[in-house]
Structure formats: C-alpha cells, structure tokens
C-alpha cells in the first residue's frame, strides 16, 4: 500500500471478510461439487454405453462371455448365500413368532422379505464383490498395459467393446440371480421351518400363497435391474479411469466395490420410497 492513500477502516474490514468467506464457501461446497461431477461422469459413460448398444458390430460373443461370468460364475456363491439367508430369516422369524404362538406365519415372513429386500440387495452385494471387483481390475489393468489404447488404434471404440457388454450383461443377469437367490432362500426357510421345527406345511403354504404377492417379486426384480446398472457402471468407470500403475488398479478395485455397495444400499432406500407410492403395499 502506498503511504499517500491509506486504506479506510471499512475497506480493511471488507476485504479480509470477502477473502475469508469465498474460500470457505469453496471448501464447504467442494465435496458436493466433486460428487456432482463424478455423478455426471458416470451418467456420461452410461449414455455412451447405451448409445453404442445400437451400433454395429454387435459382437454377441462378448455379451455371452460376460453373462457367463456374471451369471453362471456367480451361481455357486448366490445359491450358498441364498440358502443360508433363507434359513437364518426363518429361524429368527420362528423365534419371534413363537412368542405369540404364530409360527405358521414364517412362510409369509421369509417369502416377502426375500422377495422385496434380501434377495435383490444381497445378490447385488455378492455380485459386486465377485464380478464388480473383477471388472474394475480387468479394465484397470487393460488401461495401464495400453490394451485400451490398442483398441482405439484398430478403430474399435473401447466403450462399445468393453463397457456396453458388461452393462447389458449385469442388467440381464442380476434379476436372474435374484430369482435363484429367492428359490434357494425359500428352500433354506422350508428346511428350517418344516423339517427342523416341524411347523405344519399346509398352514405355512396357505398363508404364503395368500399374502405373498407376485408384485413383491416384480418390485424385487426391478430393484435388481437398477442395482445391475449401478454395479456395472461404477466398476467400469473405476477401471476405465485408472492412471498410473498396479497400485492404482488396486485402489480402483477397492473404490469400485465400496462405492457400488454404498450406492446399492442408498438406491434401495429411494427405490422403496418410490415403489411404495406406485404400489401402495397391502401388508404394511
């Protein structure tokens, strides 16, 4: 500052205030802006993957390979987890219902909680851990070993070749795996309720048939489809954007699993809210 024009008292107060407030606002909103940007980039990738879906060549082999990996490959783990989830749910339900001597409601309890919540959410989480992590690792290592660049030199669009088949396969396979989970979960519940606790099968089936609505399954499958999009998109985004070396591939894999799992759970809440408006529930 020159000596000839000393700053006024007001200006002295105003300038530092502005200088403090602007960066402070920046710091407060930076994570929010970052989140919005990342969401936008995911949507951009989604848009590109969907656009490429309708362009030639269709490369059916890539779709079948991915469906085999996401679907058939995940079958043992989904069956195992499904069976025990059904068994545990039945066990807990029987213990709770025993207080009112109403164990015959166990079929309804297991059926509806599997159909609406447990099957789609657990299936999505299991497939994220198994296939989502593999997708992020595979695309990440393809990126750092220049395989993705190599694709572009043959005029092959990497989103078309790598992302679209994974996205489509996840969308098709998640509902199928969810149904497998449902079936095995009911089997687990059956063994606990009917075989172990010897609850009357006729009563259990009657209540199940009367109260579990096909709509419960439809809602579960819609959720599974949306979880499939979230899982594949997050895994592909993370793998596709790896820069650097092996350490970064590991980081991308962790990020893919963590963020898709969190996304699945958050989406689950909002989907329940939306669906409860569309299909007002009969039993709740």
């Amino acid at each position: 500052m020159s000596e000839a024009s000393p700053p006024s008292v007001g200006a002295q107060e105003k300038l530092p205030l502005q200088a403090q407030v602007v960066p402070l606002l920046g710091r407060i909103f930076a994570p929010l802006l970052g989140a919005v940007e990342i969401f936008g980039l995911h949507m951009l990738l989604f848009g590109r993957a969907v656009t490429w879906l309708f362009r030639r060549p269709f490369r059916l082999r890539l779709y079948l390979e991915q469906m085999e990996f996401i679907g058939v490959g995940s079958l043992p783990i989904i069956m195992l987890v499904g069976f025990f989830t059904g068994a545990v749910t039945a066990l807990q339900a029987i213990m709770a219902l025993a207080m009112f001597d109403q164990q015959r409601w166990v079929g309804y309890g297991v059926g509806v909680s599997l159909a609406r919540e447990l099957a789609p959410v657990f299936t999505a989480l299991m497939i994220t851990a198994r296939a989502g992590s593999a997708m992020a690792t595979e695309l990440g290592s393809m990126r750092i070993t220049e395989q993705i660049d190599a694709l572009t030199t043959f005029a092959v669009n990497p989103v078309h070749y790598l992302v679209t088949p994974r996205l489509v396969s996840a969308v098709l396979m998640l509902p199928v795996m969810t149904m497998v989970f449902n079936v095995l979960g009911l089997l687990g519940g059956y063994i606990i309720s009917i075989v172990v606790y010897q609850i009357d099968l006729g009563q259990v089936l009657e209540l199940f048939q009367h109260w579990v609505d096909p709509n419960d399954y439809v809602q579960g499958l819609i959720k599974a489809t949306i979880f499939g999009v979230a899982m594949a998109l997050t895994a592909c985004y993370q793998g596709f954007n790896v820069r650097g070396g092996a350490k970064e591939v590991g980081r991308a894999t962790t990020a893919a699993v963590v963020s898709s799992s969190v996304t699945v759970l958050i989406l689950d809440y909002f989907l329940i809210e939306i669906m409860s408006v569309i299909w007002p529930s009969h039993g709740m």
Binding site: P57, S141, M142, T145, E146, Q147, D149, A150, T152, T153, F154, A155, V156
Partner: protein, 264 residues
Amino acid sequence: MTNDGSTRDDRWQIRIRGLHKSFGAQQVLRGIDLDIERGKTNIVIGGSGQGKSVLMKHLMGLLQPDSGHIYVDGQDIVGLRDVAIAKVQRKFGMVFQYAALFDSLNVVENIAFPLIERYRLPRSEIMERVRELLKRLDLDRVAGVEQKFPAELSGGMRKRVGLARALVDRPEILLYDEPTTGLDPIATKNVDEMIRRTADDFGVTSVVISHDMASTFRIADRIAMLYDGIIISCGRPDELIAAPDPRLREFVEPSGAVKFGAPS
C-alpha cells in the same frame, strides 16, 4: 524441406506442419514441423515428458491438435472423423512399448483382431494371413504358439506377436513406441534387427520413438530430436554427427553411442 505438404510426395509420406497441442495450461507440442521419409526408418528421440508419445498419437489421429496440419500421402488428417479417420488409420500399424496384447485372446486371436474388426473375411483367409506372419516372424518355431495366451509368452515373443498384429492388415506405416525400453542388451539388439528386417521385408515406413541412443544410431535412416515441444534437429545420422545441435549433443553424448566431432 518445403513448407507445404498438401500434395502427395514420392519421398515424404507424412508431413507435419505447425502442430500445437496443450493439455490445460501445459503446452506439450509448440509448433512441430517434421517430415517422415517413405520406406525408411525414421526415429524421433527426446527425453521423457518431451511429447514424443503425444506426437505419435497425433500421427494416427488418436489425438486432435489445437492447431497445425498432418498430411499423410498429401491428405490432411486433422479434423477427420469416423469413417474418414478409420480409413487413414488402416495405413498405420502400431507396436506398443509392452506389446499391449489382449490378455483374454490367444496368439491367433490377437493377430487376427484387426482383420476381424475391420473386414468380413472368411476364416480360412484370416488364418492364412496369420500363419504367414507367424512364419515370417519366426514365431512358428515355438510348439503350439497359436493357442498360447500372452501371459505364457516371453517378453521378446510378446513383442513379435505385437508386431505381427500391427502388420496383419498390411499397413504402409509402422509406429513403434519405445520398442527397446526395459530390454537387456541382447534383446535390444534382436528388436533392432526386427525393426530393420520388417522395414526391408515388408517395405513399410517406420516411425520409432526412442530414447535408446545406441539403437537409434544403429538402425535409423533419419533422426529427429524433439526438445521442449519442437523439433530442434532433423536429418540423416551422419549429418547430425557432423554438425550436431548443442542440445542434441548433450542428450546423445553421455550414452557413448556416437563420437561427435569437435564442438563448432
């Protein structure tokens, strides 16, 4: 060197004029003028981070410059899109630093990849072309090589399979991205030989990006030095040795690859 490359020239296959490229605030290419001689081995040297790879990606149309022109056989490829750029890209084959073979495909599927993606050829013709290349690149001596996956191959073999994949669509121009990085001296010599032999046998124009000075002076027909985003020196090896730019001299001399005359 003329300033206009917009007409087809028998001697120069690629002519680059005034190429600029920035990434954000960072200026990587700051006005590149460079001619690539047809049928010869042209080597671009320069230190790390001087923009060599960025320059190479521009040649194939994988990156678009901020300004400038790249004439391939007299056709300006800057601004070309979709089908037009794909047509130009077919003139090129690229050999990556670490081969960049597709892990999920075996040797035959890797080599056949450009043909399968670009044309609808009968399987017999594809196999014929792949087998011919395996033979010409001495890959057929290894038992069962066709069905092997990249992870089962040695570094040198992977490089040759990468070369076969680049050659399968009969390109006119082959780009090599630092082909000798990470190789021991004997493997380096083999790669040098491979580049020379490929240039002679297949009659291709080679553009090699390198910071291996011994290799460069062994196999180059022409050398260009990229420094700070511009070409500071360009010519035949003997021309460069006779009258070296001080920055070229500083870069090359420590390697002991060549003996320069007294500083001018």
